[in-house]
């Protein structure tokens, strides 16, 4: 059996942002949470597992910081692997289209597969014989709007060697309807005749996902090596690929030094803000122990906590959240230190909106709006459209133009975003309105 180590988007030259404002004061060395640290861990794993090759699926380095700071780490990793007799291969992604080929030229032994946007097959050898073949394609320029796999059949790839497994590697936008990042479909990959495709580009790992439309095909994203921002939650790390004739097993090794998580914390209707800190701490502790039970032990667990449930103290909780009174929550269990990156208030007022909506006064009218959001339909769509028109000017304001460059930037005018904003704002306003007539509230005590 032959083993490979597959590594997704590394983005050397960056480090995760926003772990905690005062990370250093809490003894957290952010330099040990970087993609470079993740790559070191991957190299150690490659050595321990005695893999034959390490395969990078593009975006190895951050184009904005490739020349010096990223290069040092890549060079160290590649040279260590080569010294261990491990073959090092990689395809070029949209982020390192200029940088990676240049770095590869400076690091003898680091082989770019499919350089210049052509299909290429590279044999991985061990002790003088081919143990597997890696077929790959690299970005020739920053943007590629057509599917590279469309040229696969017409390429001059050699026929597969008998008994030598063959896998595919590329950086692409899987199942995207167009777009500038090499859009490919699962069907196209299935027609290549290669049953394992290791992909880069999207930072959320999906290689282990099953596909009912192509059950024999194993294709998906390796994901980022280290979660680069709070949205990159869950397991991160390299993949061990065990190749055998007719059987390929894929194992995601969650060894990133930093792990992002989002947890929902349901609060009680009468829970007061001063108790929230303890609840958050308990939830954090529980999450760390659950991870340790799985054998996942990141150095730092950065959490985003979403308060859910219904509350009679909406304004107070909102103030507690907005006042960042939770920002110093830290919990260390074993080798893992957890910090709270952000807490959001997704609670709802413990009021019977249906009862409130019976009135024609402002709370009643507002309650009707909130009820409209609860149910899909034309009325809800119309409300969202009107809101979107209202928000568009601000959303499109030039002040926010830089946000278009954010990785995995969500559309602020998407239905779900608008719905969330309306619910949050509506709950807050409703709370404020009802507070004006505290003794005469209708529907008091009723919970939905």
């Amino acid at each position: 059996m032959t083993k490979l180590l597959a590594i997704g988007d590394v983005h050397l030259g960056t480090r995760p942002s926003g772990v905690a404002e005062d990370a250093a004061d809490r003894g957290i060395a952010v330099q040990r949470l970087t993609p470079a640290a993740g790559l070191e861990a991957a190299v150690r794993l490659a050595t321990e597992q005695d893999v034959s090759a390490v395969v990078f699926a593009g975006d190895v380095v951050e184009s904005t910081n490739a020349r010096y700071e990223a290069f040092r780490h890549l060079e160290a990793a590649v040279l260590k692997l080569l010294a261990e007799g491990v073959t090092v291969l990689g395809v070029v992604g949209n982020h390192d289209v200029e940088a990676l080929p240049r770095l590869a030229r400076l690091i003898p032994g680091f082989r770019i597969v499919g350089a210049g946007g052509r299909w290429e097959c590279v044999a991985v050898e061990r002790e003088g014989r081919s143990v597997c073949e890696v077929v790959g394609w690299s970005f020739p320029q920053r943007q590629v709007t057509s599917s590279p796999v469309a040229d696969f059949a017409g390429s001059s790839l050699p026929p597969a060697q008998p008994g030598v497994p063959r896998i595919g590697v590329m950086h692409c936008d899987l199942d995207a309807s167009g777009g500038p990042y090499a859009p490919v479909t699962m069907g196209e990959l299935a027609r290549t005749g290669i049953d394992t495709w290791l992909l880069g580009h999207i930072h959320k790992p999906s290689l282990g996902d099953t596909r009912s439309d192509n059950p024999g095909l194993r294709a998906g994203y390796l994901g980022s090596l280290v979660g680069l921002n709070p949205k990159e939650v869950g397991d991160r790390g390299p993949w061990l690929v065990d190749l055998a004739e007719g059987e390929t097993s894929l194992t995601h090794v969650s060894n990133a030094p930093l792990r992002w998580e989002t947890i929902d914390l349901a609060i009680e209707p009468d829970q007061q803000p001063e108790d929230l800190g303890d609840s958050v701490l308990a939830s954090v502790d529980q999450r760390i122990r659950a991870l340790h039970a799985r054998g996942v032990e990141p150095s730092v667990l950065a959490l985003r906590v979403r308060l859910t449930g219904t509350t009679r103290s909406y304004a107070a909780i909102d103030a507690w959240v907005g006042g960042r009174r939770w920002s110093d929550i830290t919990r260390t269990v074993g080798a893992t230190t957890a910090v709270v990156n952000k807490i959001t208030n997704a609670t709802e007022l413990a009021r019977d909106l249906h009862e409130l909506a019976k009135g024609d006064d402002p709370p009643g009218l507002l309650a009707r709006k909130l009820l409209i959001l609860e149910t899909e339909g034309a009325e809800r769509d119309a409300l969202i459209v009107r809101t979107r028109d209202r928000l568009r000017t601000l959303a499109d304001a030039s002040n926010f133009a830089p946000l278009q460059d954010l990785r995995d930037a969500a559309d602020p005018l998407a239905d779900e975003e608008i719905t969330r904003a309306l619910k949050a704002a509506g709950s807050s306003i409703l709370s404020a309105l009802l507070d004006q007539h505290e003794p005469t509230r209708r529907g008091e005590g009723a919970e939905r």
């Binding site: 010096y68 507002l366 926010f400 954010l406």
Partner: protein, 1162 residues
């Protein structure tokens, strides 16, 4: 309620009573000069209806029609009486006294925006509208304010972070560019190194140039000297003298060597030898002569020895009895035999004597029979004592084992053993254990049973003790033991003596045997002695010493005979050798002409003479040869000197013997040689230099002239300096690259940028949430207002819109205490009362109070008294208000009194009512009534100009019609509400005409109109498609204007510049002028100010430009967003909701029209 008659009897400021009679239902215009009493009518009415306290000095009464009944009210000081149909009664229901101002309006009331009643009205309206909830309070509590500068800080942080990244990247790029130059720098360094090397070659070449120049000069000087200088060395005169001296000496030598030659040849003749003898030969003959002489000596010695030996022989013979001449025949062939005999005889005799001695010593020591008897007796005694001691001590009882006697026990043990053995064999091996136990038992019993009785045993022992042996002192154990030890000691000693006697007996037997053997051997030796004596012919066997002497004498005799024979033989041999040598020497000497020698000494002398002659011959011949050679050498020297002398002159190119010429020539030789040396040295240096250049491959340099070489040297020096610089720079770059690689600068900056982006995203999220909250609140507010809008506000809004030609819309501003505001339909901006003009303010409050009066009065409308209330209105608005009043009067059956001092108002009101189709007003000329002086002098005075008519658009294009009605140029920059309706109704100018005729010209006016229940809007929407689309078209225009304004900012006029406080007084005028020149374009203005190239900006400070830029950016005058092009702008507008409400072709037509109109302007 209608006043039919009003009489004022007494009122402060009224000097005489007067009354207004036969008052009608509609509008009354009370006209009269100031101080005629117009306001008194209001005061009297106030006192009558609301018991105004000021009415204490009032006396008035009125007749009133109310609800079909006739009422009267009388006020006389504090007395206030109401009557209905002549019967005193309670006053009718009237609005509260604080609302009286709603019915009695004068200019002062309407101009005073802070009156209690106005605020109270506004408050009550607001509360009524809000249903008891303050939406604005909720907004302030729950919704973040999204102002103009929202997220500006976060955006700046992002920009700053991006800028820092860019700066760091630029630094890295610059470093990368510098890194790219490393190869070039290395090349420069290598070139510099090469240049440094070549510079040395160039220096060599330059040196060569100097050397060649010097060589050329010296060579010319050299060529001017006689060539012969080159052949001579300057020492020629010395050489000449030396040569002449040598010639003379050579001549002398020739003579000398000729004499020596002759002498040598004479000595050769004297030697008599033809050839000299070889030294070896001479040496051999000399040795032979010497040998012969030595032989002669040895021969003489041998003869002496022979004589001595003869003498010894005589003596030896005499010792054994011989004579001098005949020695005896006695001889002993082997004297060793004699000595051996003597040694053996002595040894045998001594051995035999020793044995005999030993035998004597051993005799007399045998062990006697008595001693043996005593020993045996002792042994018996000892045995008896031991038996006595061994007797057992039974204690007097029989020993029993296991209750059995010893025998029985033994038997039992044997039986048990036998039984066990049988059982073991028959049944099981375990029974052998029983066998073992039985045997042990039996053996033990047996051993015990073998003992005797002690007493018996002791007695027996005592009996057995020998009687002739001393018994123990007593028969006790101690005594017995003591005696037993003594007897054992005696026995042991006896036995030892016995053993020693036996050993000596054995040894004596052995010695006796040896003695016998020795005696036998002695006899044998004695026999050999007798035999030996017989052989020596002795008569007896002498004693040993004698026999030794005899043997020695015989030996000496034999040795003397041998020595004499040997000496004689040696003499004979020497004689033969002597003769032979003599003969050999004699033959050789005779052969050389010498005598035959007779003795060795003569021979030696002859040989010596021959040696001398031979040496003479040899030496003479050597002398002859040397003299001959010396003679030849001298002659050669003579010839050489002559040649040297001739050569000196020949080399000097002089006649032989020209010493004067030679002296003259030699005077120039030193300089010549200096020149030659210098030229030669130069040539050597040149050669070295050329070789160095050649070896360095730089031969070409040797061909360059000095100027070329100096230029090349300068160039190379420049390259060397450049290489030094390059080396420094290369090291700096390497250090910077190392630092850049090991740092985390860009990584940190990217993270900071991401943090800033996250903050910005959060800010946007909060902003959007806030806007969503605003949106919800607005929706709730609108919805609530729509459903819950108080009639009084609705009525007031309609009236105010009507009064202002729909220029304004009435609103309530919560932030200023719930007061009223007028919202411009052109700009959407609300104005507080103190921001409105006097007329606008009066119109607003008039509308509100009329509306509120309607609300407050209940079923029966009260009369309205307007005291110069429209005094501040322009004619057009006056007309509108007057029409409204007429309509109110008609529709509500309300009595209205308009009090004015302006006669023209009478005609205005009349025309307005006429235009509105209302009954003409009743005019009460108060001047005429009270003073008899009419207020209106003539009808001509009352005539006013008719309003301008709006032309018909038929046959005119939109452009032409727009120009005709003076429509301003299309400019999207101002708020869309101020845009002229022509640009919305481009395709229906008739609808436009109707709106303009109603003074509705702008989009804002239309929107205000359309929200009211004005019949014009309704009728237009019923009649024309374009009018139905006007709302949607206006929203589309809103999107267009907003989109067009992106990136353009607001116009920067003088006001904006002043408000910025950025520009000093000194430059304010100049900057305002420049702004105007630039079309109020803020961006270009800042560029010009920052460049400071404008002639008006001498010494203008850059900081002022920065401050102004910051202000303009903060206030929206500068918009950093990019300007949209036509395609993007239209695409965005088409995506707006308004576009979805309009036909596509209308949308496209309008959007392209607006773009072209704007483009055309540009």
């Amino acid at each position: 309620m209608k006043f039919r008659r009003l009489e004022i009897v007494r009122l402060p400021g009224i000097d005489a009573s007067y009354s207004l009679e036969k008052l009608g239902d509609g509008v009354h215009v009370v006209v009269g000069p100031n101080a005629i009493g117009k306001s008194s009518i209001c005061r009297a009415t106030r006192a009558l209806l609301w018991s105004d306290e000021s009415g204490s000095a009032v006396t008035a009464h009125a007749r009133i029609d109310l609800d079909g009944e006739s009422w009267s009210v009388q006020r006389d000081g504090a007395r206030h009486v109401w009557q209905r149909e002549g019967v005193e009664c309670a006053p009718p229901p009237l609005p509260a006294r604080h609302l009286q101002d709603c019915f009695l309006l004068d200019v002062r009331d309407l101009m005073d925006s802070g009156t209690e009643s106005g605020r109270e009205i506004a408050k009550q309206i607001r509360l009524q509208m809000a249903g008891g909830y303050s939406l604005e309070e909720a907004r302030s509590q729950a919704v973040e304010r999204v102002g103009r500068g929202f997220a500006k800080k976060e955006c700046r942080d992002v920009d700053a972070a991006a800028g820092a990244i860019r700066k760091a990247q630029l630094k890295q790029e610059a470093l990368a560019e510098r890194e790219e130059t490393l190869n070039s720098l290395e090349q420069t360094i290598r070139e510099g190194e090469n240049a440094r090397v070549r510079q040395a070659h160039v220096a060599t070449a330059l040196e060569l140039v100097g050397l060649r120049e010097q060589q050329k000069r010296l060579t010319a000087e050299l060529d001017a000297l006689p060539p012969a200088c080159g052949k001579i060395v300057g020492l020629e005169l010395d050489w000449l003298e030396t040569a002449e001296r040598k010639l003379e000496e050579a001549n002398e030598k020739v003579a000398q060597h000729e004499g020596e030659l002759r002498d040598a040849r004479n000595r050769i003749v004297e030697s008599r030898l033809e050839e000299p003898l070889e030294a070896s030969e001479l040496s051999a003959w000399r040795q032979r002569a010497d040998s012969w002489a030595q032989l002669a000596l040895r021969r003489e010695t041998a003869y002496g020895v022979l004589a001595a030996e003869k003498k010894k022989l005589v003596n030896a013979s005499r010792v054994v009895g011989g004579s001098e001449d005949a020695p005896p025949e006695l001889a002993l062939e082997d004297d060793e035999e004699l000595y051996r005999y003597l040694r053996e005889a002595t040894e045998v005799e001594q051995g035999r004597a020793a044995l005999e001695q030993r035998l004597r010593l051993l005799s007399g020591h045998d062990f006697s029979v008595e001693q043996k008897k005593q020993q045996q007796l002792g042994e018996r005694a000892a045995e008896a004592l031991r038996d006595w001691l061994r007797a057992p001590d039974t204690g007097g009882s029989e020993i029993r084992i296991g209750g059995l006697t010893r025998v029985a026990a033994t038997v039992v043990g044997l039986v048990v053993a036998a039984t066990g053995l049988a059982l073991g064999i028959a049944f099981h091996p375990a029974f052998h254990g029983v066998t073992g136990a039985g045997l042990v038992w039996a053996i033990s019993a047996w051993l015990l049973s073998s003992s005797d009785d002690r007493a018996d045993a002791q007695q027996k022992a005592m009996d057995a003790f020998p009687p002739n042996v001393d018994a123990p002192a007593s028969w006790t154990v101690a005594s017995v033991n003591e005696r037993l030890r003594e007897i054992d000691q005696q026995i042991a000693e006896s036995r030892a003596s016995e053993m020693r006697a036996r050993d000596r007996s054995i040894e004596r037997a052995g010695i006796e045997s040896d003695l016998e053997t020795a005696r036998t051997r002695e006899q044998s030796v004695r026999d050999r002695g007798e035999e030996l004596v017989a052989r020596l012919r002795l008569d007896r066997v002498p004693a040993a010493a004698e026999l030794v002497d005899t043997a020695r004498a015989l030996i000496a005799l034999r040795e003397a005979r041998d020595a004499e024979a040997a000496a004689e033989g040696r003499c004979g041999a020497l004689d033969l050798d002597f003769e032979a040598k003599r003969e050999e020497l004699g033959n050789w000497l005779v052969g050389l002409g010498e005598e035959d020698p007779q003795d060795p000494e003569a021979a030696k002398a002859l040989v010596h003479e021959v040696e001398e002659l031979s040496r003479l011959l040899v030496d003479s011949r050597k002398d002859e040869s040397r003299a001959s050679d010396d003679l030849e050498s001298a002659r050669e020297k003579m010839r050489s000197s002559e040649e040297a002398i001739a050569k000196i002159f020949r080399d000097a190119d002089l006649e032989h013997g020209d010493r004067a010429g030679l002296s003259q020539l030699l005077g120039k030789v030193e300089r010549y040689q200096e020149l030659v040396n210098e030229v030669g040295g130069l040539q050597t240096s040149i050669g070295i230099g050329e070789r160095k250049l050649s070896e360095a491959g730089e031969s070409a340099l040797a061909n360059l002239d000095q100027s070329d070489l100096e230029r090349e040297s300068d160039r190379l020096a420049s390259e060397t300096a450049a290489a030094d610089d390059a080396r420094t720079e290369s090291a700096e770059i390497a250090a910077e690259v190392k630092q850049a690689s090991e740092a985390h600068t860009l990584e940190d900056l990217i993270a900071s940028h991401d943090d800033a982006l996250a903050m910005l995203a959060d800010k946007r999220e909060r902003g959007l949430e806030a806007l969503a909250g605003d949106f919800l609140l607005d929706e709730v507010k609108t919805e609530h207002e729509t459903k819950q809008l108080p009639a009084v506000l609705k009525r007031a809004r309609d009236l105010f819109a009507l009064f202002t030609h729909h220029e304004y819309e009435l609103g309530i501003e919560p932030e200023v205490g719930g007061s009223f505001i007028a919202v411009s339909s052109r700009t959407g901006v609300g104005k507080q009362l103190n921001e409105l003009s006097g007329g606008e303010c009066a119109q607003l409050l008039l509308a509100v109070r009329i509306a509120f009066a309607e609300e407050a009065e209940g079923a029966s409308p009260l009369p309205l008294f307007l005291d110069e209330a429209l005094d501040q209105s322009d004619p057009a608005r006056f007309d509108l208000i007057a029409r409204s009043l007429g309509r109110i009067s008609e529709q509500e059956n309300r009595q209205i009194f308009y009090l004015t001092n302006d006669n023209v108002d009478v005609d205005r009101i009349r025309e307005a009512l006429q235009s509105e189709g209302c009954s003409p007003p009743a005019v009460i000329d108060l001047g005429l009534l009270r003073r008899g002086i009419a207020a209106v002098s003539s009808a001509e005075v009352l005539r006013i100009a008719p309003p301008p008519s709006v032309p018909d658009p038929t046959g005119l294009s939109p452009d032409e019609y727009g120009a005709l009605i003076e429509v301003p140029t299309f400019d999207p920059r101002p708020a869309y509400l101020g845009q002229h309706l022509l640009y919305l109704l481009w395709d229906d100018l008739h609808v436009l005409k109707r709106l303009v005729a109603s003074r509705i010209e702008t989009v804002g006016q239309w929107r205000t109109l359309s929200r009211t229940e004005a019949p014009l809007a309704a009728s237009l929407k019923d009649e024309a498609e374009a009018a139905r689309q006007l709302d949607a078209r206006s929203r589309l225009l809103e999107v267009f204007c907003e989109s067009w304004s992106e990136g353009r900012g607001k116009p920067v006029d003088r006001t904006a510049i002043e408000e910025s406080n950025a520009i000093s007084e000194r430059y304010l005028e100049a900057v305002a002028t420049i702004a105007m020149e630039l079309g109020y374009d803020g961006r270009r203005l800042i560029e010009v100010l920052q460049s400071r190239e404008h002639p008006l900006l001498a010494r203008f400070r850059p900081k002022a430009a920065e401050k102004l830029a910051t202000y303009l950016e903060d206030e929206g005058y500068l918009d950093p967003r990019p300007v949209l092009d036509e395609q993007d702008l239209i695409a965005r507008a088409l995506a707006s909701p308004a576009a979805r409400e309009l036909p596509e072709e209308v949308c496209n037509e309008l959007l392209h029209l607006w773009w072209q109109l704007r483009a055309g302007k540009q």
